[in-house]
Symmetry: C2
Subunit: 344 residues, 2 copies
């Protein structure tokens, strides 16, 4: 077999510099034990030769990987693509490579992807998406991550907790609360929630926030109509259909993320329900298109790109005994999809 690569190897650099492999390796790794002049000469020659270390050989020898695995639900969901953008940005700055996987919102498949990434010996695992209420759902993933970290891997979660790893977490409950308050302030009393799949912590937290806002104003959370479907545009459409059919008195719909809100708006448009005159709609996340929807969407802004960066930053730091939790800010963005409740 011919040489796998035509690229210069470390021996080539070492020969040109008339030093041993060990010295060349040390010099390029910036480790000590090499005089400054020799190190400079080696680096000089390496760059002249266009030498770049073979990461496979390097990893095999040292066990230290420089690739980070990122698990998202769907890269073409704007929430996740903004997170991914942040991760990839920072990774590029750090000279790391990002391997990306889609779990397709399926916990079983997600676990499989996680195992695959770990089996591929990535050094860092970043996992986004929502956690599950049922601890049994998370325990397998958690065990996997624990073992991974015990053997020197690093992991961080984005927007999900209960995984026993560092996490960057938006305050979903406070965000939901702000949305609830905003709608109450506008006089809405018949509020429905288009929720993602039941059993997701993100859903539970955001919902709890909305409920608490109602309770704070002396209204029973039982009045809140909650329709579960999933965190997709189609899920939003389905939820809106159900709300319109079964609860025609509703004057405001809280979609628990922007993508669902897009579906909700779409259904309202095709049903010719004027927004916000007849129905107010709010979302959550403030994905970049939220401002361009018809009408532009009132929502809670989350700094997704920054969340991605922060998660990688956390994973890059040495592990602490207790998992860290980094909160993110959130902000109510009022746009044109909300207005005063229609008089009855």
């Amino acid at each position: 077999m011919p040489r796998a690569s035509h690229r210069p190897r470390l021996v080539d650099v070492a020969q040109h510099a008339a030093v041993s492999l060990a010295t060349a390796s040390r010099a390029l790794a910036g480790r000590e034990g090499v005089s400054t002049e020799v190190a400079d000469r080696i680096r000089q020659i390496a760059s002249e030769l266009g030498y770049v270390a073979n990461p496979y050989a390097r990893t095999l020898a040292s066990g230290a990987t420089s690739t980070v695995g990122l698990i998202v639900h769907q890269v073409d969901d704007p929430y996740f693509s903004e997170i991914a953008a942040g991760v990839i940005q920072l990774a590029a700055e750090q000279g790391l490579l990002v391997q990306i996987c889609q779990s397709g919102r399926d916990p079983g498949y997600e676990l499989q992807q996680l195992r695959h990434l770990i089996a591929q010996r990535v050094g860092i695992v970043l996992i986004s998406g929502s956690g599950y209420d049922d601890p049994r759902m998370e325990s397998a993933a958690r065990a996997e991550l624990d073992a991974f970290q015990d053997h020197g891997g690093r992991a961080a979660a984005i927007g999900r907790h209960a995984l026993g790893v560092d996490a960057v977490l938006p305050d979903n409950e406070a965000g939901g609360h702000a949305l609830g308050q905003h709608l109450m302030d506008l006089g809405h009393r018949r509020i429905a929630v288009a929720a993602g799949s039941a059993g997701l912590t993100t859903v539970a937290d955001r919902l709890a926030g909305v409920s608490s806002a109602l309770r704070q104003r002396g209204r029973s959370p039982a009045d809140l109509v909650v329709v579960h479907s999933d965190f997709t545009r189609g899920g939003g459409r389905a939820a809106a259909e159900q709300i319109l059919n079964e609860h025609p008195e509703t004057t405001a719909i809280v979609a628990l993320n922007d993508v669902m809100a897009m579906g909700v708006l779409s259904t309202l448009r095709s049903r010719r329900v004027p927004v916000p005159a007849r129905m107010s709609v709010v979302g959550f996340d403030d994905v970049s298109v939220a401002a361009d929807l018809a009408p532009s969407l009132t929502t809670i802004r989350l700094p997704m790109t920054e969340m991605g960066r922060t998660a990688l930053t956390l994973a890059l730091k040495p592990r602490t005994t207790r998992p860290r939790r980094r909160p993110t800010g959130h902000l109510l963005i009022v746009r044109d999809s909300t207005g005063p409740a229609p008089r009855t």
Copy 2:
């Protein structure tokens, strides 16, 4: 140093099966020279042990990589995220891993990312984005890809040609033509184009299509107002501003991609120009949010996700002497952002 990994190695499998390393390797790779019974026993044991080959060792030994590098402009641009989704999908089906890079629309940085990917010894490179009119801009990338392919790498381009590699290519000119025709049919005579950066082949091709539609109807393409900015939302806003200020007689704006169209619509909204009553707007690509914009966008549909899959499929096939070009379909989608030209 402790063993880098706690995972079972090939020796472990071999020992349990009481065979040599070579036999175990052959059996798991499905290569011949192993009796069926022995091979089955080895596979059985491997799966019991949860053995997964160390890709670093495997690649180092064989030179065959199983990771594909994908270069996009920005993952949070919906056009690219849909392409990425397709690539990642198919890669997962094939057991390949995807390393993703953002070039940030900067040709220099893109070249750097390309070199980086190749230096990282990916086996397949997929490059998306637009090519450049100036052949000198592409020659460096082309040389890099040529050398890469000569040494056994495989590459494919998505939506760009002139790279000397297999490519999946939408018919940008025909799409532009369809848009031009559509607007002419609606009676528009004062048409402006919000174009991406000058020098991009995508821009030139789509523009040529629009011009040819005008010419076909006996109008001079010189009448076409072309404003160059870039393929972003901000670029669309800027272009729209300029068009409104310098060419107030315009009744239709062709944005050369949907993301720019979003910016155009945003500007028109803030300037209170009614769409389509006073101004028609069209985009290009049909990203998934195009239907949810205000108003929903008339555009040319491109099968981005499928384009991603096709590109990977091409790269997976053995290389042919001449680069293949796989065309993609396109389709005019008429929505609410276009209407009859206002009477003057």
